[in-house]
């Protein structure tokens, strides 16, 4: 697949169709692949593709430093590609001004990332070029949200104790926000002080308010690429919070983010027939 | 007593004057008489002012160091803290930490002509130096003040500008940006650099202090060089974002200096050693 990728990228650069390839490079074999920005055809050999290419590169599509490099081609896995669908639906990117290269993927990460166990996007959708083959079969919600279902068997007190221990380690480095392709706000609510919506100090109170806000501002938008969980230096399992909101959106409104570019965003729209069993 | 360098002194608000639509100047005095007695500062230093419940902000102390019974600061309403400070009235209590930073080398400037160039809200950091110079009038040569603002309503300390004009060997030039004048405006019309060029002040033995928005400083420096001022005779005060004021929090670090410790007052010559990072 790497050979094919080099050929495709060289053509794109030489034809001038794109000015930069956002892909994975691995200069030092001892370290995992990292994002690179290839601007000249001879550098294309530096691109790699293996099951260590875990980063979701779409987070760079909304950055001014990267936009300044010109029209991009971006290499995505199946889960990453869904972020492009949401970014397009939220008019943050001009989908026609980029070339999306989808790589067939059978799971990444060493040990294999949790998201890959229930992946139904081995073959990326809504991409311009697909490289490699894989088989994508649908996954039933039971298996998709298995981690969450297992976690929810604990009692409320046990869950509260679990999160108090976990969120105590958060030091508010905001890696979960900076690595997320859908956290693209110019100035995050955490950085505003008129009013100060929640404490910016890494106290337990501030951390609860921050992680609730982060998870809920991605309600019906998070595509489950789990970059936040991978990037967290304190090892907090943010995946559970994202799954919780995603499962609610699927159960209540049959909605999953990033699948259909035409679908109405779940929080942005409403239906008069929505169920309201919890409202007295 | 273990010194908590981050704890402010409590200050009683003596007087609040509204200078313009969004600028106020506030006089404060130490609540603790012992602190009031031992407190001293040099013109050009700044302090960090607290609005409890909101936070702290950095402003120059704009009163002369010779005035012992109060210190004054001036601010524009732009953010959370300044909006809170906007509500204070006489008798309230706010916090003050300082004095921090270096100061104008008034001793070095003795015997020299002084040119003060201020733009918009930058008059307060200059005002303290002007009052200090006027109070030691014989030590300094000719004093020229060129003070510009966008419109006539944006000029700060206008009453004091008139008072300064009474002093001998002192020239006060006020100007407003083109279109900012009112029909009865007697001052100059134009930007500070052009007004300065037009005023054609002889600068043989002069020292200049330029404070204002970066655009004004950039355009004024060449004019001053043309007038024959050496780079070491042109001073400015950098406006870096600051938090601790005591050289710990790393915010104001610009090249080899911590602006809150080795600055904010720099000569143009010193600024040549700073990277383009402020």
């Amino acid at each position: 697949m790497t050979k094919q990728l080099h050929k495709v990228c060289r053509e794109l650069l030489e034809s001038g169709k794109v000015q930069v390839i956002i892909g994975y490079g691995q200069k030092d074999r001892g370290q995992p692949p990292h994002p690179v920005f290839i601007t000249s055809p001879e550098e294309v050999e530096g691109l790699v593709w293996n099951d260590q290419c875990v980063a979701n590169l779409t987070t760079y599509l909304t950055r001014k430093e990267i936009r300044a490099l010109g029209k991009p081609a971006i290499i995505v896995k199946g889960c990453d590609a869904r972020a492009i669908v949401v970014l397009q639906r939220e008019s943050q990117i001009d989908r026609s001004a980029m070339v999306v290269i989808g790589m067939a993927c059978n799971g990444v990460g060493e040990p294999r990332l949790a998201k890959c166990a229930a992946c139904d996007a081995h073959v990326p959708a809504h991409v311009d070029i697909t490289i490699g083959e894989a088989v994508s079969e649908p996954v039933d919600p039971e298996r998709r949200y298995n981690d969450l279902n297992v976690f929810m068997t604990q009692s409320t007190d046990e869950r509260m104790d679990y999160w108090q221990d976990e969120l105590e380690r958060c030091v508010r480095c905001y890696a979960c926000r900076q690595v997320c392709p859908l956290c693209y706000c110019e100035r995050c609510v955490a950085d505003k002080n008129r009013p100060v919506r929640f404490s910016t100090a890494p106290t337990l109170k501030g951390n609860y308010a921050w992680h609730i806000t982060r998870a809920f501002h991605l309600a019906g938008r998070c595509i489950g690429c789990d970059e936040c969980t991978r990037a967290c230096p304190a090892g907090i399992n943010l995946r559970l919070l994202n799954l919780s909101v995603a499962r609610a959106a699927e159960n209540a409104f049959g909605y999953r983010a990033g699948l259909d570019p035409e679908a109405e965003p779940v929080i942005g729209s409403f239906s008069t027939q929505d169920k309201e069993s919890f409202i007295k | 007593m273990v010194m908590n360098i981050y704890k402010p002194d409590l200050m009683k608000v003596l007087q609040v004057r509204q200078q313009t639509g969004d600028v106020k100047s506030v006089r404060i005095a130490f609540e603790d008489p012992a602190r009031a007695a031992e407190f001293s500062f040099r013109v050009g230093q700044f302090g960090i002012f607290s609005a409890f419940g909101y936070g702290e902000s950095t402003f120059n102390i704009c009163s002369s160091s010779n005035w012992k019974d109060y210190i004054e600061f001036c601010f524009r309403k732009t953010g959370a803290v300044t909006e809170a400070l906007w509500q204070i009235e006489e008798g309230d209590t706010i916090g003050f930490r300082g004095p921090y930073g270096n100061s104008y080398p008034m001793e070095e400037w003795e015997g020299r002509d002084l040119i003060f160039l201020g733009g918009g809200i930058a008059m307060p950091p200059i005002r303290c130096a002007i009052w200090y110079a006027l109070e030691n009038r014989d030590k300094y040569g000719h004093i020229t003040v060129v003070y510009g603002a966008r419109t006539t309503r944006d000029l700060v300390f206008q009453d004091e500008l008139d008072e300064w004009a009474q002093h001998e060997r002192t020239t006060i030039i006020r100007c407003v940006d083109p279109g900012g004048e009112t029909p009865d405006w007697k001052g100059e019309i134009g930007f500070v650099p052009n007004v300065l060029k037009k005023a054609a002040i002889q600068a043989r033995n002069a020292v200049a202090l330029v404070i204002g928005p970066p655009i004004m400083i950039k355009n004024t420096l060449p004019v001053l060089s043309d007038m024959g001022l050496a780079e070491r005779d042109i001073y400015t005060s950098l406006e870096n974002r600051m938090k601790c004021g005591v050289g710990k929090c790393g915010r104001c670090n610009c090249g080899p200096v911590y602006v809150c410790k080795e600055g904010p007052v720099f000569s143009l010559e010193q600024m040549k050693h700073l990277p383009n990072d402020f």
Binding site: M160, R197, T203, Y208, A209, A248, V266, K280 | -
Partner: protein
């Protein structure tokens, strides 16, 4: 550090729960007002915070209420179809559906958060809802887990 929550059994009678009610200005607030004008008695434990519409009731406010010591939170507004801004309550309903799941995952006690529709004419329902919530919260005792979150900081 395990944060085992000691079983709350303070003396039942003396504990006065603090309840925060975020209400929409056009229906529930008028409903509460109607309860007042009709001299309908209801426990004074509720602190009413008026907002233009349930659509404006940000999820952060529910967290903020617990942060400042609330033992229960009520969010109430116009019945679907009555909204002064036509669709505020529909959006709110969708938001609460997802938000409840997130809080539940975080181990927040969901029976301390109540959602109701109360129209301007339902003064009696307002009285009944507040009385019911106050009693229920009094049984559950103060919300020690969240108080510990805020105190531990």
């Amino acid at each position: 550090m395990t944060h085992k929550q000691p079983h709350p059994d303070p003396d039942m009678t003396t504990f006065e729960p603090k309840i925060v009610a975020y209400v929409c200005n056009w229906c529930t607030y008028l409903g509460a007002d109607l309860a007042g004008t009709n001299r309908l008695e209801y426990p004074p434990n509720v602190r009413i915070i008026r907002l233009p519409c349930t659509g404006r009731i940000d999820f952060n406010l529910i967290v903020k209420a617990f942060e400042t010591g609330a033992d229960a939170v009520l969010v109430s507004g116009c019945h679907p179809g009555d909204c002064h801004y036509t669709s505020g309550n529909y959006h709110a309903r969708r938001r609460w559906t997802l938000f409840r799941e997130l809080l539940d995952t975080l181990g927040i006690e969901m029976d301390r958060i109540h959602f109701t529709w109360i129209s301007a004419a339902e003064g009696r329902k307002w009285q009944q809802v507040i009385t019911e919530i106050t009693e229920k919260t009094r049984q559950m005792g103060p919300y020690l887990a969240y108080k510990r979150i805020c105190r531990v900081s």
